[in-house]
Each structure stands twice: as C-alpha cells, then as structure tokens.
Symmetry: C3
Subunit: 428 residues, 3 copies
Amino acid sequence: MFDIGELMYERAKALFPINRSLTGDGVRETLNYIKRVLPELTMHQVPSGTQAFDWTVPKEWSIEQAYIICPDGEKLCDFEKCNLHLMGYSTPIDTVMPLAELQKHLYSIPSLPKAIPYVTSYYKENWGFCLTHEQRESLKEGDYHIVIKSALFDGVLNYGEVIIPGRTEKEILLSTYVCHPSMANNELSGPIVSTALAEAIKSMDNREYTYRILFLPETIGSIVYINKHLERLKKHLKAGFIVTCVGDERDYSYLSSRQEDTLADKVAMHTLKHHTDNYTTYSFLDRGSDERQFCSPGVDLPVCSIMRSKYGTFPEYHTSLDNLSLITPSGLKGAYDVLLTAIKVIEFNRVYKVKTPCEPQLGKRGLYPNTSDMQQDYSDVRRMTNFLAYADGTKDLIDIAEKIGESALSLIPIIEKLLASNLIERLD
Amino acid sequence: MFDIGELMYERAKALFPINRSLTGDGVRETLNYIKRVLPELTMHQVPSGTQAFDWTVPKEWSIEQAYIICPDGEKLCDFEKCNLHLMGYSTPIDTVMPLAELQKHLYSIPSLPKAIPYVTSYYKENWGFCLTHEQRESLKEGDYHIVIKSALFDGVLNYGEVIIPGRTEKEILLSTYVCHPSMANNELSGPIVSTALAEAIKSMDNREYTYRILFLPETIGSIVYINKHLERLKKHLKAGFIVTCVGDERDYSYLSSRQEDTLADKVAMHTLKHHTDNYTTYSFLDRGSDERQFCSPGVDLPVCSIMRSKYGTFPEYHTSLDNLSLITPSGLKGAYDVLLTAIKVIEFNRVYKVKTPCEPQLGKRGLYPNTSDMQQDYSDVRRMTNFLAYADGTKDLIDIAEKIGESALSLIPIIEKLLASNLIERLD
Amino acid sequence: MFDIGELMYERAKALFPINRSLTGDGVRETLNYIKRVLPELTMHQVPSGTQAFDWTVPKEWSIEQAYIICPDGEKLCDFEKCNLHLMGYSTPIDTVMPLAELQKHLYSIPSLPKAIPYVTSYYKENWGFCLTHEQRESLKEGDYHIVIKSALFDGVLNYGEVIIPGRTEKEILLSTYVCHPSMANNELSGPIVSTALAEAIKSMDNREYTYRILFLPETIGSIVYINKHLERLKKHLKAGFIVTCVGDERDYSYLSSRQEDTLADKVAMHTLKHHTDNYTTYSFLDRGSDERQFCSPGVDLPVCSIMRSKYGTFPEYHTSLDNLSLITPSGLKGAYDVLLTAIKVIEFNRVYKVKTPCEPQLGKRGLYPNTSDMQQDYSDVRRMTNFLAYADGTKDLIDIAEKIGESALSLIPIIEKLLASNLIERLD
C-alpha cells in the first residue's frame, strides 16, 4: 500500500548526502531533484553582489575537497566523508600549522562529544573545520597540513518557486529552505514535506487560493525574494507557513507570527488544537527562520510556523546527530497531515450567513427529528443548529467552530448540506 | 398577610389541568384565565397555513378522548386521567393491533420508570401514547384496542400580548410560553410569574420603558410574532427576557443571549450576582426556548433568560414529575423578585455625569463629615464619592456599580440625593 | 560621599517642626525653604473667598498659642510642644469648662494609646485638642481652662510652582502637598523628594518635556490650581504623579489613575515592575490625595501615584507616630530613584521604526557575530534583534520592552546605537 510517509522518507534519503549551502551546486542539485517531482518548479537565479534591502547577495561558493593531515599522516575532517566537517563558505587554504594555531579554526561541542557541529561564515572570509569533541581531544601536538580546495566567486544565488493557481489571486504561501548540508529534521524535512503538500494541493478540486511554494536559501533567499515581490505579497498573501523541522515524532509546535492574530495563526492554532494530541506554542520571540523576514516591520506578512520539534529545542539541532535516524516516515506524515488539514480549513474558512431570520424548519428537510422526545440523541442536529445560530455573516468558519466547540473540518459536511438546502450563503 | 408567592402558586394550580398544545382550546382557556387578571391582554389569532419566514402555521388540533383497551379489558393511557398520556398532535385512530405493533407508538423512560414522558409530533402526522416504564413493562401479549378521537383542521394559532406603556417608546420584553400540557416548572411558572410581573410593572410610577409581555406557543408562536413585528422590535427593543422555569427552589440560572453583551445580559448578570446567593451561567449553546428565535441571525434582539432550574437540567423535565410538587410559592417568589429587581435596575440604568470638574464640596451640603478624623466610619460617604468619581458621562449605572463594587439597586437612593442636590445630571 | 538620601533626610528634619495647615505662615515658611533650594519656585496666592468650581477658598488661619490648664494646674496639649495637639483651623477661645464638656472637643485613638491623632475642621468653625489616649484616660474631674489664641481672617492661600522647560510644550507634572503639620511620611517626604527630583531634572540634558512641579495645600490647592489652568493642562499634560508617602522603607506602591491606562500608569507600572523587588497595586477606589481632583470627571488628567507605604495603610498614618523615625535616607532615596527612573523612561518613551523592510544586516556593522555557532552567547544580540522586530512604528519604547520582556531602561543604549547606525528612526 502506498504510504506518503514512506515516500517522503525515501526522498529525504536521496537528498541527504548533497552538500547544500547558501549558493552553489548543492542547491541546484536539490532543486533539480524537486523539479523532477514537481515539473511546475521554476528555478530563479540572482547574481552575487545584488542589493536586497540592507543586504548584498554573497559570492557563490564551490568546494572540491577539504581535509586535514595529522602529524601521524592520518586524514582528519575529510569533507568527502561528512560535509559538516567543513565550515560553510570556508576560503581556500593549503598550509601547515601547529596544533595551537589550528585550534583557532576548530569547532566542537564539549557537551555533545560525539556530534560534529554545523558552523558557517557567510559574510566574513574565514575557514574552519568542525569535528566531534572526542576527536578534538585526541589531537596530538605537531604540524597539521590543512587543505581546502574551495572557491568564492561572483556567481548566483538560486531558489525554486512552484505556483499552483486557484480560482482567485488570493495566495497561500509555503516557504522552506534548501541551504543546509546533511541534516534531516532541520533541513530536508522542510522541502520534502513542502513537495508532498504541493502534490496534494495540485489534486484538490476547486481551489479558492493560489498556492506559492518557495524553496530558498534561508535569510538571504527570503530577503531577496521579498525585495523583488513585496508589493504583490502585500496585496495577495492571505496566509503563509514556514515549513521547517517537520520530520521527527517528538512534538508538534506552533510559532506565532509577529502580529499574532493573522489568518495563518488562527488556522494553525485551530488545526493543531483539534488534530494533534498536544502541541507546544512558541512566541515570535522564539523565532529563528524566515518568519524573521516575512514578519519584519515593513513586510508584515501573515506568516507563522507549524512544526514538529522546533529548531533550537532538540539536542541534535545543528549537528551531525540531526540525521536520517532522527526523522521517520510517521513523523513526516504527521506534519504533512496537519499542514494539509490547515490548508483544507483555509479553503473552507469563509464567512457564512443564514438566509432567513429565525431558525429554519429543519424537520421538513429531514434534518431534524419530527418527534420531540428527549430520549433521542440530538448531538448531530445540535451541531447543525449551533452552526446556524452563529452563521450571522460576521464570523468565519473557524470563528464559528471555536465558538461551538467543534473542529472546522467536522463542520464542512454540514456546510455542504446547508448550502445544498439553500439555507445559508457565502458572503465572501 | 398577602403573599405574592402563594397567589402565584394558587394560579398555577388553577391552570395545571388544562391540556395546552401549540394550538387549540387549551391555549385559549389559559389566555382567558390570564386576561381575567390582566384585562389589557389582547388575544391574537393566526390562521393555519400562514407563512412565517421558513415556517407554516400548523393545523389546529382538538382532542376529545384517547385511551387504549388492554387484552384484559383494562383502560390504559387514558387522556382524561393525564393529558401527557397522549402524544401531542396525535391523529385520530380507532383500531385493534397486537402489542408488538403498538410498541412502535409507545414512549417511556427506562431510567425514570415512574414518569410519563412528554412527547409531541407537530409537523409530521403520527400518533402515540406515553406511559410510565413500569406500566409498559407489565403489558402482556394480545390485541389492544386503540382509540384517539382527535381532529387536525384548518383553524388558528393563538397568542396573548400585554402592553404597559411607559414614558418612551423604548421597550422591555418578557416572553413566555403557553403550549405545554400539565407541567409546572417548565410551563406554568413562566406565564404565572410573567402575569405577576405585569401587575407589578403596572403599579410602578414614571416608567421610562414600555413593557411588552407575550404569552405564546413556543417556537412557532415566537416565529410568527417576530415575522409580524421584526421592524418594530429592532427599532425599540432595549432588553428582553424569556420567562421559563421560574418555579422551583433548587437553582438560579442565567442563559446568555447570542450576542452575550446586550443590556439584557448586563442587567441579568448584575442582578443575579447581587441578589441571589449563587447562580449558574449557561452559554447560548445551552439554549432551548424562544431566545433561539429572538437571538437568531437576522433577528439579533437583546434577549436572555433569568431562570431557576433550567429546562433540560432537572430530572423531572418534560415528564409527569414536573408537577405542582416541584414548584413552590417561595420558588416562584424568588424568581419574581429577581426579575422585578432586574426591571427596576433597567429603569434606573441611565448614564450619569457630574456637573462640575473636581470633586463637589459635599460637606457644605451635609453629605460629608466636617471634621476630618480617621476614627469615623466613612463607608456611606465613600459609596457616594465613588459614584461621583465614575459618573463621567460614559458609564451607565450598572457600569459604575460594577466598577465600585456595589449593587445598582443600592446606588439608587444616592442618585436621587445627587440629582436633588443638582450635582449630577442624566445624559440619556 | 554625597548621598541624596541623607541630604533629603536633613531637609525633612529642617521642615519637620513647622506648623503647616491649608493656609498661613507654615505654608509660606515651607515654600520659602524650598525656594532657597529651587530658586525657580514662584509663590502664588489666592484670596480667601475665591470661588474654584464648587469650592470657596477658606479663611487664612493663624495660631499664636494653644493649651489647656488642668484642674491641678498642669499644662496639657501645649501647641508649642507639638502642633498636632491643636485641631487644624481651631477657632479662638479662652474659657473654663468641666471635663465632661471638654471631652466633646478631645480626640484620641483608643487602639493607639501613645499616638496623638491629626484632626482638622477646615470648613466648619469649631475647636478641638488632640492627645494620646493614655493622657486622656488620666484626666480627672474638675474645671479646665481652655486657651486658643488663633485667628481666622480674610487672607490668602499659597502654593508654589516650579517650571523646568524642555524642548517641547508637552508637560510632565509632579504634584505634592504642604498642608500637614509635623508629620513625616505623609507630608514631608512628598515635598522633599519632589524638590530633589526637580534638581535632578534640571541637570538632565535635552529634556523632551517641560516639567511642572506643584507644592500645594491638598484638595483646595489642587482644585484652585486646576480651576485656573484646566485648559492648559488638558492641552499639554502627558503624564503626572502625585508625590506623597515616599519616605519609609516598608513597601513600594502604585495607585492607578481613574482612567487606568494613561501614559503615567504605563510608566509607573513598568518602572515599579523592573526596578523594585515588589510593589503593591491600589485601584483608584483606594484614592485619597490630589488624584481625586486631577482625575475627576471633567478634568480627566493622566495622573497616578508612585509611593512607598500608601497613606491609610500604615498604622502611624495621620498621627504623631508618623515622625522622623518612620522615614529614612534610604527610604527617601528608593522612592526618588524609582520616580527618577520613571522620568527617564518617559523621556525615551517614543515610537521607533526600523528604516528598511526585513532584518538589517547587523554583522557588517559589528553588531552580530559573523560566525554562526550555537555555542556562542547570543543574548545581547537577541535583545537588539528583538527590539528591531517590534520597532514597527506602532509601539512606544515601553510597549516594546514589555513585549520582549526587558526593562525600557536597558533598551536605551541599544536605541542610541541603532539611531547612530541609522537603522531606526523616531516617529513622534
């Protein structure tokens, strides 16, 4: 039997080894892989040196090989074995130096002695190696041969964009990032779940909204994108979600937009409340991904995050321990289901109004029992009459659902029945 | 000594045996009884078949006799002995059938084996008998002779209306129902307390408001009334109360309007908080009487309920156990007192404003002690200065009372003193 | 080493013996003392009989001597020994009366047998003596010779005003009172701390606000002042504080304005929360000083109180026990510090806005680490990015500080850095 969780996990395995960074072949390779699944994906490129608000697109980085030869001849921190060994955007070098000097360029985590940390230096030329603290502790005095065959040059920054048109120009945004090397929850889960959501959205009938799904390098990618499209985003974007850290099984979580009460927040909270057992709420003060740009003053877009274990909260975060054993088919599927439910809820989240004063006579339409008898179960009828009682043309579906203590999803069949009976109308 | 509770109880006893239903002689007999107490009552009639929004006034129902002859010749479910035995709006029948077939038309309550349930079928032609579960369990196999001498015919639906004019066209509504057969808390307490309140309102001097008191068959009656008078209600109605379940001694309760913050709700909550020991709050989701129509979208009137034990919450509800032993003179009087206090509070609930900046000099008017001495009791003075501190022309009496932690009723003598001293004015 | 607390305490000692009342030499002597410290102080006078809203300025009261000669020749309640012995505004008398009659004019506190109470009769001609309950209990039958050499005559009511101009006409008010005789926390702490604050404000550079500091007799003084200046106050006053009971060490407290959410309240609550260990909040229902006038309907000014132990809450209040041992240099300095911090916060409490969409690139300005490495301490950087995230042109400094969980004071250096980097601007 086809299982979307398994499929997503297989895709994560395929993308895991690629060395992604802000720019370069790794990003392109990743986007090309996604384009094979989603032919609608268009790849965009922005030249190094391009200004975007307060930022400048950095040089492109390529890396051929990188390693350290120890005094005893052993090869250490070999980039080929683990791309986390090399600090992102390391400049080229080929030199010999004593351990004491090398130490200034080494990164490890004393509290996680078996983890290789993930470190970058995008905006200041520098080089460095990352290794487990155990390895580092075992280093002997002597001369080390440092080899980094990399290049920083005027190239391009790439990002991918998928547009799935709907009935209207009103847009829903999914934004995810493709700039971290071999990490799983805090990298691949994002593009993988976003890709599967795009496939599901394509198969939905009568989409009200146009969906825009971005695969960007984090921070500079979203800044470049916003710089180019701010006017359109402000005009059409109704809700957006940063899709990141959506692969493990430990937690569900929600990180609010800066404005806190946007449609995206309302949908996220309602969906998590009704369709997960439990979830953790983070304020915008806990932010860390591209909501930092989408919600920044002057941009002010309705963008929040629905996640599993949030970046920064799990011990494997930004280390080699965030690998394919941290994410699971079921973890990915859980996040996918919640995000897809959120999207369904948004599609139905319209303002409804009953068409006549006083309660309609449901009995003559077979929607109410004709014999009044307190021994019957009135709960289905009650759900419908409650919906009707609050469908006053001022409340959207989620407002009504929250008011009457139901999930929006469970009200969709009722709405369809009442629309068919011509008892309610959509106002927007 | 005259006791309004005893008087109300006597009236309930007189009205108890009448077989009320949505339509028919029982309603008219009940309204005629009330008209003898309140000659202002006008009786209205609406023909069967009249459209009212989504509804049609049903046929009129008359019933001569109804009973079952058991195989052993015993008479069962004799309507003459208890009008609850017959399902409301039962169609005529005279036939013999075996027990198995009869069972499909019997109603009883296994969990209340000594109670006869109250069942109706207004909008689908059907017949049925209600009996205690004990009786039902004792029925033997054999042929049963079913006799219902009833008629369904084009007639009228009746309701009564009492208007007590005030200084202005602004209206306060009391609405109660007269369509249940022999039940006490959930039927007679409503019209009985409403009648006594009408008498009390008539004797009040300088009424600001016009009072409109409706005695209707539930649901269809209020729908017909609203259909006829919606424009006027929307224009003039300031607050209304559904008067139902106001006869027992177990509880006080409040059921909010749909809008939740109308003047009616504000007055009800303030009055119950300050003039009962305790009360239960129900949301509009717990609704069940004519607030369903008065508060429906498109009608949106400020109508809530002040009750004793709410319908649906007491075990005797909609059974033969809701009889004259469930209600008491003191239970009726408690509800009457709270509702009458609510009405007094509404009458005084105006916006007041002090006439000069800074505190007035109360001492020169004998309203403040002239010697400053911390050993004195300043609490009366404090109540007055607190009232003055908040009488800023933006708050009504209840707002101020809630702000300063007093009951609105206790501030009325202070208001009268301050108006007499020309220190405050009424703004509305 | 210079200690502002010690200096304030010395000034309190100098002013303690003076017999202040609503009017008269005591007020003038006190104001002259303050004028020697603050030469800007202008002394104003208003003739007896002047109307101010609902009030009339009372006669001026002078007192030469007052005492009682006991039957045994002993001198009792000698005004020279303690000015609290004489009821404020006592009329002249020279007569002999038996103890029983004298008792009607004596005031003592049974529950505080060693305290002389503070009693006045400003608006009704009367006389009286205050003494300890122990003294009163020891009085023997016999004839008492009562001597009060006082005068009530058409004179003036005095108050002092210090104006310290700022860059704009927008005003901050400090109001304190100078009408109580020898009491310390509930009298001298107010003018003493206000005087020291005036000195500190004078030394502040680039004041945004104009400061107005009033030294008034309580109630009638503020009413007279408001009557004269209401239009200007309404136009320019942005926040004000009643400075009273600011000398002991037991408590910090805040008493809200009537409107509850003015700038003064916002600043007071924020400052007390961040710069004291703990403080007590009082509602406007607990009011008792000149906020009664400044916040009254029709005046409606943004005035609240920051205090130490509030009047009426400490046992020594309005008795001879509220003396120089109740207040301390450190108690005075604590209140001074909090009020001065509140003033600094107000000066910086502007609306800020980042100048470009998306996060600025702090790294290139040396405000953000260039190497991303989770092992670093990001807390300083986080404070700055949090400030930037909320500096959206709709929130003032305190709003942002509360949102991000910092004290406004701690954000001032960040604001200065961001203004210098041209990353933010002031909107108002």
